[in-house]
Structures are given as C-alpha cells and as structure tokens.
Amino acid sequence: MSKLTTLQEAMGRVNDGDTVALGGNVLHRAPMAAAAELARQGRRGLHLVKTAGAMDVDLLCAAGAVASVTFGYIAYEPPYGLCQFFRRAVQEGRVEARENACYTVIMGLRAAVYGLPFLPVRGLDGSDLIAARGFKKVANPYGEGEFVAIPAIRPDVAILHVQEADELGNGRIGGPKYEDALMAKAARRVILTAERIVETARFEAEPDRTDIPGFLVEAVVHAPGGAAPGSCAGHYGIDDAQVRAFQAVTGPEELGRYLEQMAARTAHEGVSR
C-alpha cells in the first residue's frame, strides 16, 4: 500500500513533545521543507536530535517549537556564523542545550538500535561535558578501566530528506550519507521527504544501493527542493541569499512570511502540500 502523502499530513503525524531526529548535516540534505512545515503548524516542545545542525534547528528554535536539542554542534559553517535563534533561546532559558560530542549522539542512537539502555564510550576524558550532562560511568566487568555510559537516544520520529524514494518508503541517498540510516533504525517511526519518487523496480534492480529499507518508513512525501536553502547532492547547492534572508528575520511576523515564502517556493517546484 502506498505511503505517499502530503507534507502537511506527514508533519501532522509529529506530536507536540516528540523527540525528533533530523537527517543531513549542517546545511547539507537537512529536511528543511519538513522543518518549515512543523514550524508553520505551530508544533511545540520538540526534543531535537542531530549530530551537527544549522538552519533546521535554528528555524525551529526561531518558531518556538523546541524544548531541547541533543547535539554535537549547532552552527552554520563560514561565512554564516552562529545559529542566533538557537543561541538566544538557550541563553534565555527557553531551550535546553543537551550538548554531546557528535560521537555520543551516534552512540546514543546506536544503543537504541541495539535495544540497549546505554553504550559505553572511550573518550570524553577530562571533558566538563561528563559532569555538565550528568553522564555516569561503568566499570569494565572483564578487566581494567571505567567508561562513560551514554544513555540510549530513541527518537519518536526520524525525518530524513533523500534523493529518491518509492511509495513503499525505500530510500536512496546520493553523496554523503551522514547519520541518516542510523537514525532510521533508532527511531520508532520514520518519515521521508524525497526529491524524486521512483518505481519500486528501481530499488529492486539495485537493492545494495538502498539506504533506508521501506518497511521502517511510515510516510513518504514528494518534496523537490526539500533541503533548500541548504544543499542536496546531485540536485542543488546552498542558496546563499535565502540563508541570509532567514538569518535577517526579526520577529514572528517576518518569520511567518519567510515560512510562507519557503512553502510557496517548494510548492511551485511541485511539492504536494
């Protein structure tokens, strides 16, 4: 049965207070159209999970949709600077910054993938993150040493933008894969947005190139331009003007207009909303 749906309906499946893993990395292949739709729908209290995030996290913080962010790095790369909406929200106590190392986000997701409550990690020695985040240590039961135990991160939903998907939810990623496949396995539910919807036969012909198995996915949205104004490998690069336009937004009305313009651009490019 087809899992194809509209962006609006798919994002309606995300509940206030959900833990949401976002695919991609910094300004690359992040699910921007999905994030904008969550903001537009007025979602609240989200707990975001991302190794290295930028405008996706910043936009949801700007919209007041976020309660906490579990992350290794939240900033743009040069020349765009810090994520000012995220920064201010944390400084004003509206968003909890659950800083990790990128690797401990990965290990938390892995613990969920393995069905374990935690995984021990090497590293973090001497870092104030251990105390600041309240990470506990476990002794090696077979020999010497203690290791920091990273609790499982089990997202309620992973939202991933991919280059190709079929109506069954199979997904193929072009270019850098980042942590998307890990997120898909760690999360209870997965929603894909895709540049192109292709025939299942295309996946059957090359199953070794399928990154996200369809049975893990509950909804698929055709969203060309769905990572814009970030990049999507093989399709488009970073839209400098639109990133800067977002960074210049002040106040909820301007943000609302920006979100409507984003939605109109993707709709114009064929998104079913």
Binding site: I74, F86, N100, G126
Partner: protein, 236 residues
C-alpha cells in the same frame, strides 16, 4: 612572495603532517582541508585523508563548507563520520584538526559556553567531535582564526575537550604543547613578540623566538590549485 595569514596558517599545519599519518578534519575547516591536501601534493607526504562527508583521499575543490558533497570528489569509497570516530576509538587515527572558541595555557579547548553551562552568557556551537577525538587520536593540531586575549586564555570557561593537543596555530604564531603547557615556538614574519604578548591571555616570556618559515613559492603554487576560490580566507 605575496601570501595571506590564512596561507601561512595552512602551511604551518601542513608541515606538521608526517608520512603514514591518517588525518581528519570536521565541519567549518577549510584551513585544515587545505593543509592536508598541501601535505599530500606539495610535500609528497603519504597521508591518508579522511573527511566528515566520507571522502578517503578525496581531491575536492575547497569551499567554505567542508562537509558537503564536493568533499567526496575523487574518493573511491565512503568512510563517514561514524567510521572516523570508531577509527579514533580503536587507536587508528593519528592526526585530527580541532578548533575552539577559547584555548587555554594548558591546551584545553572550549567551544561550549561562556559563563554557566545551564544558563550561559553566550551559547557557543558545541565541541562537535572534539571531546572524544582529543583524548583518543594520536596528535591534535589546533588552529584558531583569531588571536586575542578572549581566544587565548589563562583558563577556559568550560573544558569541551582536552587530550593530545600538540600544536596551536594562530594568525600570529605557533605554540607547541610541552610538559602540558603551551610554549611559543615561532612568530610569523607578519607579527612580533610584542603583538603576541599583547594578544595572549597568559604570560609569554620575553626572549628571542624563531620566525615561522613563510610559505614557499612552490607551496603557494600548489595552494592556488588546491583552493582557487580561497575558501581558507573565509575563516579569518
């Protein structure tokens, strides 16, 4: 020889790489990316270059973003961030390039907060992978695009990462970590001891220091090919 401060920093970092190294950089790292490529191409160093996007000995045309699709150009396999962290944990990563907003006298890095962790005066980007990379990889080469008393401090507000920091390269000079403390190793030809002292938050003893060898004509010619769009200047 015309060169920018970014060129000098790239060259300093490239000269730190050795045959047999496996070297990694993460996001927002055009200077390290240029340094690794320069060590491979200009210095003929047998370095295995792994980047956050998954490239292995890739030959990207550099851009200010260092984790985009271009970072896979010329790679024959994908070895992404998770693989690189795992490699470092099992002792297989010999060099990592890390930066920080604050770097202190003991070579500790802060990219997390200014002020209290839970209610910071300034929330910084976060240390990315540095907290687990710094203690596990062989040598950490630190670079910082600004050198002032806010960046080079006596003691960091928060220790995001600490560990095997070997060298710190700034727009003014090169520090080497010796017996757990940063020591001034050389001053760039474009700076002076007085300028370094004035802009460093911990005492720098007054004595003679070597001048950092500037970029050579050959290095500059290679840099022009590696980074024709001068992404490396974006960091300063």
């Amino acid at each position: 020889m015309q060169y920018t401060i970014a060129d000098q920093m790239v060259v300093c970092l490239a000269r730190e790489l050795r045959d047999g190294d496996t070297a990694f950089h993460g996001v927002a790292s055009p200077i390290p990316a240029a340094a690794i490529l320069l060590a491979q191409k200009a210095h003929g160093r047998a370095v295995t270059y792994v980047n956050i996007a998954g490239g292995v000995n890739a030959s990207p045309r550099l851009a200010p973003s260092t984790d985009g699709p271009n970072m896979l150009d010329g790679t024959a396999s994908l070895f992404g961030l998770t693989d690189i962290f795992d490699l470092s944990m099992r002792g297989g990563l010999s060099v990592a390039f890390l930066s920080g907003v604050q770097i202190d006298r003991r070579g500790r890095i802060n990219s997390s907060v200014i002020g209290e962790f839970d209610r910071p005066k300034v929330r910084l980007p976060g240390g990315a992978g540095s907290a687990v990379i710094a203690p596990t990889c062989g040598r950490v080469l630190v670079w910082r695009g600004k050198h002032n008393t806010k960046a080079l401090v006596e003691e960091v507000d928060f220790v995001s990462a600490t560990g095997n920091i070997d060298v710190v390269v700034t727009p003014l000079c090169v520090f080497r970590r010796v017996d757990g403390e940063l020591q001034l190793e050389s001053i760039h030809a474009t700076s002076s001891l007085a300028e370094v002292q004035e802009n460093t938050g911990f005492p720098i003893p007054t004595r003679e220091y070597p001048v950092t060898p500037p970029p050579t004509a050959e290095e500059m010619a290679w840099l022009e090919r590696i980074d024709p769009d001068r992404a490396r200047d974006q960091e300063l």
